[in-house]
Symmetry: C2
Subunit: 338 residues, 2 copies
């Protein structure tokens, strides 16, 4: 079970454990858009040479434009996970506070870097922050979709900065809640010394296999991170996809509407199946049931992988199915209730 409560996307392990499950498997264990951006792969030529730094720079520019900030405030990384690891290796910090429950990769990264990590209760964010050198907030939060207002986060970043500390805001799912984004809020006025924001390409654009994420921060911090990260951080395919996808605002707008409709449909289904929908974003829904663990198993036997949690055994998180899979998901959900 631990395999599935640590991270989503462990399909091979599920196939091994649940032999006899209906094939092909439907993986709802991650929070990824099931209708990927139709990005053309990189050209053979681009794959056959090192990515030119000017291409990586062009990628950072279109990403910064999509985020609404200046290009020199953005660094491309091979995924948000890599960005988190980079920060944990670079920022001076002894005590790291993480608003929990949340994505486990943050605590893992800081612990692996030898820091003392404390979980912070959302309600006590402001008072707990003073005891930390770095505070991490995932906004909107995974798995519950909870948010902290941009205004409150900005004030917190200012306070952290005064003490030489940092606020790290992980906006990995913010594309479906743009009004929540600190980057949108700060925009051209972006200037927050103690603030570092993480963005994901793969989740909203449905291409996590390409490994692409971004750090947004003041130019000084970006320069330090860039020097530490080294050359050619992201692949030709990641560059090609980002260059195509970020400028395509109409796709993003339509996708937000489609994902929101999908989330509503999934909520209705979860309720009908006797689960209590707690929240989430349009990329994943969190629901509770006393028999969540046995539902996880029964759904897995039906070839549908969901995301259980060790710290809260009544919870299950559901990504959105792709359009062809709604019927099977519905059937598996209904049968899992019996």
């Amino acid at each position: 079970m631990e395999t599935f409560t640590t991270h989503g996307g462990r399909l091979a392990q599920a196939q091994r454990l649940f032999t006899g499950a209906i094939e092909p498997w439907i993986d709802l264990s991650t929070g990824v858009n099931p209708r990927p951006y139709p990005a053309q792969p990189a050209s053979s030529r681009a794959r056959a040479r090192l990515p030119d730094p000017q291409e990586t720079s062009a990628l950072e520019t279109v990403a910064a434009e999509a985020f609404g900030i200046a290009a020199d405030a953005v660094l491309a990384t091979p995924g948000v996970e890599a960005a988190i690891r980079l920060l944990a290796g670079v920022l001076r910090a002894d005590r790291v506070g993480i608003v929990e429950p949340t994505y486990g990769g943050h605590a893992e990264a800081w612990r692996a870097a030898g820091k003392v990590v404390t979980g912070i209760d959302r309600g006590a964010l402001s008072s707990s922050a003073d005891a930390c050198d770095v505070v991490v907030v995932v906004n909107p939060n995974n798995p519950d979709g909870e948010t902290v207002s941009a205004m409150a986060l900005r004030a917190l970043a200012d306070r952290m900065a005064k003490r030489g500390g940092w606020l790290v805001v992980d906006e990995a799912f913010v594309e479906v809640r743009p009004e929540v984004s600190l980057l949108t809020y700060l925009g051209g006025a972006w200037r927050a010394d103690g603030l570092i924001v993480l963005r994901s390409f793969g989740k909203f654009y449905g291409l996590p296999g390409l490994r692409l994420g971004f750090v947004a921060a003041g130019p000084d911090v970006i320069t330090r991170l860039r020097v530490r990260q080294g050359e050619w951080p992201v692949s030709a395919d990641a560059i090609a996809a980002g260059l195509q996808a970020y400028p395509d605002r109409s796709w993003a707008d339509q996708t937000r509407i489609q994902l929101a409709a999908g989330a509503r449909r999934l909520d209705a289904l979860l309720s009908r199946a006797g689960l209590n929908v707690l929240g989430g974003t349009s990329l994943f829904r969190l629901a509770a049931a006393d028999d969540a663990q046995s539902r996880f198993v029964r759904m897995a036997q039906a070839g549908v992988l969901t995301r259980p949690f060790d710290y809260e055994p009544t919870w299950l998180r559901f990504g959105l199915p792709d359009p062809d899979n709604w019927r099977r998901v519905e059937a598996a959900l209904m049968e899992s209730a019996s």
Copy 2:
């Protein structure tokens, strides 16, 4: 000029500086096989989900088989540069000695991690090592192709280990000199506490745009590095290409022969153009001429980008042209002499 003496592959910058150059540019500034392995891209499905850890593990297994060592001694990274940075962030070291001249990324990485870096003369390797916590040897070396015997390196690793230190051997170009490889030498008997070996996928297989490299070390070190690096380090396309290419030994054997023939042809050409061939590997050749700097400029004006060196202005390094480009390279070389 600094753009071109730091790293190869700065084609966009060359295009900007040398307007009026013959198009399309021929980039000989890196040491990459000009005939890439014909790898199929990852499937749309694979790009649309997180790489399953078991796929990454399968990639490490085929790579380990190709290297001739056990699978638990290998970690996949998004390129050798990322591997170097990972080591610099994890290994305890104050003083790092690097056998120079060599690939500049090593010194950059350790300096960025706050370590004191010293250049070591190849002839004084054994005596200089005692003053260092980490010693780095690129073998065969870039740009001169110099080698240190596997036996000497193994002895050095043992000595470093006794002091709690490390020998890092960068075998990024070793596929064209397999007899030089420490991994081949140690093979099943691989057990060297103080030894870490780096391998590159992109150079020999001609696909550096995919960003794929490997660290080989004892299982304990690999586990530490894996925890520090985090989840999903390499992309779906990198996994797909590695899984296809590494088991294909006949392609590798033919490619070694082709590259060696290409290197001989290039040497003959360089000599005819009045350059003095100093060495290299079958993936790049190092040559000297008093007027190397002006030859660099004249070749660039002819649309051929080579690799100059700030620390040795009489040197130029040449990658192998792809089969269609030999004539243009020959013409540019001959004209650059005038």
